[in-house]
């Protein structure tokens, strides 16, 4: 526990420093190496497993697993919605969790969505951003993939709010490892087509993943709203 806290604190410091640095990819050398390593691991292990899972497990079963994993995220969503000062989203998260945990049979089904109860997925990286912390340098994490200093910090903090991490019991390490594995499998399976297309058509895969990550995170932080002032100018690219 102390080790994790120390790591979080040090990352907070790094994030604070990095937020004043120019945006970019100062660790590109390391990042590209780690990206290649992750890609090799994905191709040799995760991708074939994910495709096998997709081909053998029926869709309702896969959706059920996805729903359970999503439902278990509710405490994290609640915690971060509260920290971001979004009481309505926090309340909705509680209702959604209650509905899916009961009517939805421990989260296996998602009747809340059918009832029009939206999901407000938030993590501590987003919370830090709402508090004004900059992303810091882009980084590629071993196994976990694209991130930045702020979101890596958030990732660690979020482990404290996940029910499987909070409750201690015999075999908790095995349960947490299983959760990590199934979560990875679920996410990779849902991204099979996207990643296949990306590998087939991208000009520079590393840059493609980086841009996708940075843009999608910025969008999540804005909760899907558009900020026209942040859009790039095109005028300088008019024909001369």
């Amino acid at each position: 526990m102390l080790t994790r806290l120390a790591l979080v604190c040090s990352l907070f410091v790094l994030t604070a420093c990095a937020s004043t640095a120019p945006a970019g990819d100062p660790w590109a050398g390391y990042n590209r190496q780690m990206f290649d390593t992750n890609l090799s691991l994905d191709r040799s292990v995760l991708e074939p497993v994910a495709k096998g899972y997709r081909d053998t497990a029926p869709k309702p079963a896969r959706d059920g697993l996805h729903n359970v994993l999503n439902n278990l995220r509710a405490p994290t969503d609640l915690f971060n919605n509260v920290l971001q000062g979004r009481p309505e989203a926090a309340f909705t998260t509680i209702i959604r969790f209650a509905v899916n945990s009961t009517i939805g049979i421990a989260g296996l089904f998602d009747p809340a969505t059918d009832m029009g109860i939206p999901i407000y997925a938030e993590d501590f990286g987003q919370t830090l951003a709402v508090w004004g912390v900059g992303p810091g340098p882009y980084t590629v994490l071993p196994l976990l993939g694209p991130s930045n200093v702020r979101d890596t910090t958030g990732l660690i903090v979020d482990t404290f709010t996940h029910p499987f991490s909070v409750v201690r019991y015999d075999g908790s390490l095995i349960v947490q490892s299983t959760r990590f594995g199934t979560n990875s499998l679920d996410q990779r399976t849902r991204a099979i087509d996207l990643i296949d297309n990306l590998e087939e058509t991208s000009v520079d895969q590393y840059a493609a993943y980086r841009s996708l990550y940075e843009q999608s995170r910025a969008n999540a932080i804005r909760n899907g709203a558009v900020d026209v002032d942040e859009l790039p100018d095109f005028e300088e690219f008019d024909d001369e």
Partner: protein, 203 residues
């Protein structure tokens, strides 16, 4: 640029053409949407066209609604500055073929969607972001897509598209500038690569 992203681009175009959109952007943008709807719908709904003719006409349509010269210069980022005109022209030609190839290869993935304009924001005069919602057809859940449209001298052109928070032109620029940087700033290397991709996609 990946196929999914350009598929989204095509999806927007297709949906626009299929459903005579009710534009609520500025009057210039509204006229732009209405005029192009007629032309685009004629191409996509014409069952008498063979695939090659449809592809050619669709390519012309893309030329009409997208400012692809500006988008291709934007994709070069800092490398667009002080670039030899011939190198720039070669790049723009290759980029255009590459982009059209992906747009057209994505053609068959969609159909039957419903398209609705939900609002617009003026970034500044002649530069607007139009929000749309696409549903039905190949789209499992309603999908919000935003168009960035610039109007100059009374002519409107699409310069970027966004879905899931990803702006297509911004994504293209990230990839292409990274590729050029990895080739010691050689724009010609990117041109060669894009030309090869375009040829492999049948352009």
């Amino acid at each position: 640029m990946n196929k999914t992203k350009v598929s989204l681009f095509f999806l927007i175009v297709f949906s626009l053409l299929s459903h005579g959109a009710k534009a609520i952007a500025g009057p210039v943008e509204e006229a732009f949407v209405q005029q192009q709807s007629v032309a685009g719908l004629a191409i996509l709904s014409n069952q008498e066209l063979d695939e090659a003719t449809r592809s050619e006409q669709f390519g012309t349509f893309i030329d009409q609604i997208v400012d692809i010269r500006k988008v291709s210069r934007f994709a070069l980022g800092k490398y667009a500055r002080r670039l030899d005109p011939k190198v720039l022209t070669d790049f723009q030609t290759a980029f255009t073929l590459y982009a059209k190839g992906i747009y057209q290869n994505s053609l068959s993935q969609y159909g039957g969607e419903t398209f609705t304009i939900t609002g617009s924001i003026d970034r500044k005069p002649g530069d607007a972001v139009v929000s749309t919602m696409i549903s039905g057809g190949a789209v499992e859940k309603p999908l919000r897509v935003r168009w960035r449209v610039q109007t100059k001298d009374g002519v409107s052109k699409v310069i970027d598209l966004e879905a899931f928070g990803i702006w297509l032109a911004v994504q293209q620029r990230s990839e292409i500038t990274a590729y050029i940087a990895n080739h010691n700033g050689d724009v010609g290397a990117a041109t060669t690569m894009l030309r090869g991709r375009a040829q492999s996609s049948g352009q």
